[in-house]
Amino acid sequence: MLGDAFTEAFTLIVSVNPELLEILWLSIQVSLTALFFSIALGLPIGTSLAITEFPGKKACVTILNSLMGLPPVVVGLLVYLLLSRSGPLGVLGLLYTPTAMVIAQVVLITPIIAALAYQVMDDLHREYRDLFQSLGIPLTKAVPTYLWDARYSLVTSVLAGFGRAISEVGAVIIVGGNIDHLTRVMTTAIALETSKGELAIALALGIILLTLALIVNAAVTTVRAFGLRNAYV
């Protein structure tokens, strides 16, 4: 019976089943959009935290690091409360839309990108600080230099963020609702189809998700290896 499910799953994939394709496409769209906003938010947060000194900086770093481990269902719940009809942003009517899922994923992965960026930038800043002061490099030149010299590590963090976003289920199922043709993404579909006993579809999606994760990891490894080979990490 399990063997049948596998055969069927592979048939679904090989025949490029339109339903699977739709789910895959939405997953990628939602997670890439979330990734875009998380980079736009997380990179400046992590960088400015690394290169500025202010009272309470340590506390900020601690908070940021703990936000990295936010339980997705809690994020889902908070975003749900925010977007639900009686919530502060209820009038926007975003609950159970792809936008709601994007918001939830942004909340989840921005801290990851910010915290990883902070670590990379902090190390680099410790190394370069005296040199930059010695050469009289202004901040407008120092910041792009930090970003460029951290490029390999930053790409790794970004890919890690994407991996987390696309494989996360707890938050998007609460705020997206797994509505067919509207908010059904790979993870929520797997959860639903498995509970319905539709193992073939669940398996097919699982295989695609796993493949995506493998590709992301291979990309991370390649990027790092290239950076290391040139002592650019």
Partner: protein, 247 residues
């Protein structure tokens, strides 16, 4: 933000017989530890002032104070007979451990070059430190000695009037030491003042005009090079020159 003062007209300084280095009662405390104690030094000597002393004597800290990277707890610093803030921009420092950007050799130099530096100047400098042919190599893959030579080239590119060197030849082969010493002599001939930390007695004899000797964060003596090597005044310097450890 870049230093752009020309190297010329520095000789005006010696004509007025004003001190190149004037440090008064310099104290430095970090995290409750007093690391530099009441250092006062005045040097009228052009050329190379050597800073010597055992490991942990406070030489690097002293140089960092002179460069404005560390703010002394108390005391005053005047270099090239100007207020300290006015000179930090015309100084350049070569650190004990070379700090190189994560890019290739030529880009490391371009990064520090003042706006409008002609590319030929960079190429010539590379040849002077014998790094021609390595332009496109990632800088952090250079050997230790090559990294130090690149760091010195980068410093010279900013056309400093005061060059601070923290053991720039510590791990270099004799040929590389000569390259660097020649560059430094060339710079001083053009009127650049050098403050140079070294453990190499031969080097100190070859380059040094006067010697600042530090011991346990204090100034043990400051004399001209000849006196220092023939008849050192302090017990600490005597012991150091004899290869003894003074506690």
């Amino acid at each position: 933000m870049f230093k752009s003062e020309p190297m010329s007209n520095t000789s005006a300084l010696s004509a007025t017989n004003a001190p190149y280095i004037e440090v008064n009662n310099l104290n430095l405390t970090i995290g409750g530890n007093q690391l530099l104690h009441d250092i006062s030094v005045t040097s009228f000597t052009p050329g190379v002032t050597m800073v010597m002393g055992p490991n942990g004597a406070g030489k690097s800290l002293f140089l960092r104070c002179l460069h404005g990277l560390l703010i002394p707890t108390s005391g005053s610093i005047r270099l090239l007979n100007k207020p300290h803030e006015a000179t930090t921009a015309s100084q350049s420092m070569v650190f004990q451990k070379a700090v190189l950007l994560r890019r290739n050799v030529i880009k490391n130099l371009e990064f520090a070059a003042p706006n409008g530096t002609p590319p030929t100047e960079i190429t010539e400098l590379l040849a002077k430190v014998h790094l021609n042919g390595k332009e496109l190599q990632p800088a952090r893959l250079l050997s230790g000695g090559e990294q130090q030579r690149l760091a010195l080239a980068r410093s010279l590119l900013t056309k400093p009037r005061l060059l601070l060197l923290d053991e720039p030849t510590a791990s270099l082969d004799p040929a590389s030491v000569l390259i660097i010493e020649r560059l430094i002599s060339e710079a001083t001939e053009q009127g650049v003042k050098c403050i140079f930390i070294s453990h190499d007695l031969g080097q100190a004899k070859r380059l040094g005009a006067d010697i600042i000797f530090l011991h346990q964060g204090r100034l043990a003596e400051h004399t001209d090079a000849e006196t220092f090597f023939t008849s050192p005044q302090s017990r600490e310097a005597k012991a150091y020159l004899n290869g003894e450890i003074v506690l």
